[in-house]
């Protein structure tokens, strides 16, 4: 069984009472909908019988006339009553099945995050944000329909058709049978058309997605376009994309419209069939004018479920495809487990190639972090061979270790491994609690305070906390700028901190790292966006403030490395030690110049 169907079915069984309620409501709705032509029939027949009893009399016998008025009044009352039943049915399915749509959307989103939160880091490296984003928003939006609205459309279509046929058969089995033969043939005719439309729709959606992608790419490169005079090439590319999508979309619309003459044609054939069979039935007096009218009405009504058939099929297909995509992430499974189990456990890399053992430090007075036989793998899928290490080193509390090395030698990966977010590595890490300052500072949308506290300090906020925050901001020389912002600590920072400069972002996240007060600080090029003057000032502050903490700092700026007690040079793997040494020398010279 398809995993999507299985998931859907399990969900429905779990909530069977809600779905049963929805089913009944829909039944009620469909019955009342099919009743309208019957009321027309009854009215016409009532009047017609009355007319034929008293042909040509306008005054008529008062008794039969008042009888007629009575029955008309009853009909009207019954009609209104049916209307109320329809009202109840419609409210009913919305409160059950439409609600189920929203609820399942909520459920799928939370489930998705619970999986994503514990996926291994390599999932996030390969430009996967867009992919995850489309599953989280577009796919969940589409998939949740399966749990409610799509179900409603299908059931409504089926009930309506069944009841309409039933009503026709009750009036005249000949007309019913004739229409049934016509209608049953239509889905076969529509099937190919629906499939074609679905395929074309998918194609146009992917054209649109790549257009939007191109547009994003274009905007990200706007400055180099302007500076390099290449706008023309970009615009031409976008122009092509827009035209391609327009032609794709027009094709979908045209295919979709071809369904219209098929269904309308079918209903016209039905009407013709009803006319022929009805003509005989009228002749033999089996039905009256009212019956004839009702048959007509049903024959016309039958086109609406047919018309929706193509939509129903594609809605179902799309919903299932989306649900499969959502479940795919859920089934990938997390290798990390829950956050509590990260420390002190053996974590497996991809395909169990590497093993890394993390243990707490025993001698906390002397050692803050100790690394034994650590080999870091690049872990980018599809490639092998990039390795750094084996590395052995230890850092004592209060000691600063600088790490330098040429581009791509694995400096950042080493820090990420120590921080416990990169798992493609082997060896042993003994460490106290670490705080990691990544190369790219990450600012969440929210206030300055929220960004600094990040859920950590918020529980018991007092004046002491504010003092701590200001002290941290002062250390990174950001206090003045925050004070000048409207709102100070409560100033709102937008997504990605776009209302901060690169340097401000770096300092803010550095202050955040300081506030964690962990014994080990890992900093990856922490001050790279600042001018040297500010850099030196902050370094001085940091050295004063972080007296008891171990610091591991990646940088290639001599001015920064000078502040470290020891400098550790990373090469491009174990293969070229000689070259490393030569580079080391060059660096030593650079340091002393």
């Amino acid at each position: 069984m398809n995993p999507a169907n299985q998931f859907l079915w399990r969900h429905i069984v779990q909530r069977k009472w809600l779905y049963a309620g929805g089913l009944l409501s829909l039944l009620l709705t469909s019955i009342t909908e099919v009743m309208a032509p019957k009321f027309a029939q009854w009215t016409l027949d009532a009047v017609n019988i009355d007319n034929s009893l008293n042909p040509g009399s306008s005054s008529g016998s008062s008794s039969s006339s008042s009888n007629l008025r009575d029955s008309l009044a009853w009909l009207a009352v019954a009609f209104i009553f049916t209307g109320f039943a329809g009202l109840a049915g419609r409210i009913g399915w919305r409160q059950t099945l439409a609600r189920a749509t929203h609820e399942s959307g909520r459920m799928l989103r939370i489930q998705l995050w619970d999986q994503i939160a514990f996926l291994p880091m390599r999932f996030f490296r390969e430009g996967s944000l867009g992919e995850l984003m489309s599953r989280f928003s577009a796919d969940v939006n589409q998939a949740r329909m399966l749990f409610g609205f799509t179900l409603v459309l299908w059931l409504d279509c089926v009930f309506f058709t069944v009841f309409a046929f039933a009503a026709m058969f009750l009036i005249s089995w000949r007309a019913g049978l004739a229409c049934m033969i016509v209608i049953v043939a239509v889905p076969a005719l529509l099937r190919n058309l629906a499939r074609l439309e679905y395929m074309q729709h998918e194609k146009s959606q992917s054209t649109l997605a790549s257009f939007s992608d191109r547009m994003a790419q274009n905007l990200s490169a706007i400055k180099i376009q302007r500076a390099g005079g290449t706008e023309r090439f970009w615009s031409a590319m976008l122009d092509r994309g827009a035209r391609l999508y327009a032609s794709d979309r027009l094709r979908v619309l045209k295919t979709g419209l071809r369904i219209f003459p098929v269904t309308s044609g079918a209903s016209l054939v039905c009407v013709a069939a009803v006319m022929i069979t009805g003509w005989f039935d009228l002749h033999t007096g089996r039905i009256g004018a009212g019956g004839m009218f009702a048959l007509f009405a049903y024959a016309t009504m039958l086109q609406s479920p047919l018309f929706e058939l193509a939509d129903l099929v594609s809605e179902l297909q799309r919903g299932r495809a989306s649900l499969v995509r959502v479940l795919e992430v859920c089934r990938t499974g997390s290798i990390l487990g829950s956050p509590e189990s990260i420390n002190g456990e053996i974590l497996n890399g991809p395909a169990n190639l590497h093993q890394i053992v993390r243990t707490p430090v025993h001698d906390v007075q002397k050692i803050a972090i100790r690394v034994r036989q650590l080999v870091v793998h690049s872990g980018i899928s599809g490639h092998q061979g990039f390795r750094a290490g084996p590395l052995d080193f230890e850092v004592a509390p209060g000691e600063w270790l600088g790490i330098s090395g040429r581009i791509g030698s694995g400096k950042s990966l080493l820090l990420a491994t120590l921080a416990g977010i990169h798992h493609e590595a082997s060896g042993t890490i003994e460490a106290q609690m670490v705080t990691f300052q990544p190369q790219r500072p990450f600012v969440f949308s929210g206030t300055v305070r929220e960004n600094l506290e990040l859920g950590g300090l918020a529980d018991d906020r007092g004046d002491g906390d504010d003092a701590k925050i200001w002290a941290a901001l002062e250390t990174v020389a950001l206090d003045e700028e925050i004070r000048n912002m409207p709102g100070g600590l409560e100033a709102y920072l937008h997504e990605g901190g776009i209302n901060l400069s690169g340097g401000q972002r770096q300092r803010l996240t550095l202050a955040r790292a300081l506030l964690r007060e962990s014994p080990v600080m890992l900093m990856d090029a922490p001050l790279s966006a600042l001018d040297e003057q500010t850099e030196q000032k902050i370094l001085g502050n940091l050295r004063r403030r972080l007296i008891a903490r171990a610091v591991i700092l990646v940088s290639h700026r001599p001015g920064v490395l000078v502040a470290c007690d020891r400098i550790f040079k990373m090469g491009g793997g174990g293969a070229n030690e000689a070259e490393n040494e030569a580079e080391n020398e060059a660096d030593q010279q650079a340091l002393h110049s």
Partner: protein, 608 residues
Amino acid sequence: MKLKMKLKMKRTNKPYTPESAHNRPVPDAVGIRALWNLAGKSKSAMGLAAAILMLAAAFATTASWVMGIGIDAIISRQWNETLLYGLAFLSFECFGVALQYFGRRRLAVVTTEVALDARLDLIRKQASLPMSYFDQQPIGRILTRLTNDVEGIEGFFGGTLARMMIAVIQMISVFAGLLMLDFRFGAITILTSVPALVLVFTLNAPVRRWLRIFKYHSAHVNSLFAEFVSGIAVLRTYSLEAWARGRLSKAIQTQFEAGMRVLHWNSMVRPAAVFLSALPMGWVILGGGSAVADGTMTLGTLAVFLRLAERYGTPVRTITQEIQVIQEALASGERVHEMLSEKSATKSGSLRAGVSGAVSFKNVFLSYAPDTLAKSVLHDISFDTRPGERIGIVGRTGSGKTSLVSLIPGLYEPHAGQVVIDGVPLGQWDMEYLRRQISFSTQDAILFRGTLRENLLGFPGTDFEDWSSVEGACHESGLMDLMQKDRSGRFNLGLDAKVFAGGENFSSGEKQIIALTRALVTRPRILILDEATASIDQKLEVKAMQSIGRLLPDCTCFIIAHKYQTLAECDRIIVIDDGRLIADIPSGSEYEVRERLQAIREPVSNLV
């Protein structure tokens, strides 16, 4: 730069509330006018489609009328006439269906054209907007204009408008049919349809607001999710998974509740609209039946009334649904229209000539918001350079160095003074032509998703002849060396190596090397390096600077840097402080330069 940041903050630093966010309500009239303008030259074509649909509806109504006469014939048992009317009915219906098909097809073609035109207009527009437009708002918002909002407009013209048009035409044809059959009775029937219409137009108003709030919360959930995914490294190192889950699930719950509010309302209003749209039918049963009994109406006419009254429900349902989503299209239309009416950058001149690279600033003032009293970013800057000269620019963060060099390729317009290249003011040059001879590389190396090759060219596509210059540039910048030494496999495809959005799969040093290579590919006459080598290790940097001298001996270079090593080969060093040019020092030995800079003290005292 600092001023620009402040400006940005002023523009965007409003508190986030559902009402104030990007979902601000647009008055209907404004939105409708915007959409009307977007329809542009297709309006008459759209009118033609509407006329065809109108004719189709007229045929359908006539068919119903013929059916009424047919039913009268049945009752008077005139069988041959019945057959005749039956045939007439069928052929009218057939015509109606055929016309409707053609009308809808026509409409689809026209609306697709409207959407395409809007897209093309926006593409042209964004290519002509000044750089300051992009500085002042988040890229995400502009992207939304160019994608989601156009899709919203497309959905409106291709879906909502078409369906509304058909519904209104249906309704009008039903009303016209009712009135023509029997004016008095028809008028009363129309009156009974009023409650449904009133309900649709009044009770739907609040739902539009709630829908807007729902959209806002959905956007919030999505942006929160995107944020947490991109910040996953921070969340993990700080063990904040549970905290993030809490925030996200709270946002999802809020979104759910907003959705439920819309649902609760709709679960009352929509069934009520359907219920009320049955009133005419009820009236026809009661009043029409009596009229036939009184002999003031034939049975056939009653049948037509019943049929028309029954048909009234469909358009009401359509309008109830569409009127809620129309708000979004109006807002999208207004936003797109707003972007289309933004002021374009000043038209470029037409001079195309070989550039020798003599750049002069003549009393240049620059302010990012000239109308306000804000302090200018550059203040009365004047200097001249010879072709092939190397100018180092130093100064504190925020002193105006980047703004200064941004004026050379005309990214911004000075609000007073002139930038002159080869004796010709910037405004007289054909900017595109001129810019092809200028290269500009910044500290935040700009890389876009694509291949390494595309990134080196600066645009996607491979229609480029001079590959030897690309390879030459790779050698000179040190990129080739980097690629050969790299063991991560990222460069396995050579120039076709994949580059992720923002160059995320490369370290900042690697990104700078790639951007530097790009700057060399076009063999520019003027080269601007804005701390372009700040993240590259010293050895590579020195190599790169030397090879620039070799590769581009006659190129005028502007180099912003904090390190003396970067400026070692400069002919002159310009010192900028607080938007003013405070010193212009000729080159000399390192010692001499340092001595002179020391004399100016503060701004550059830390140059190492």
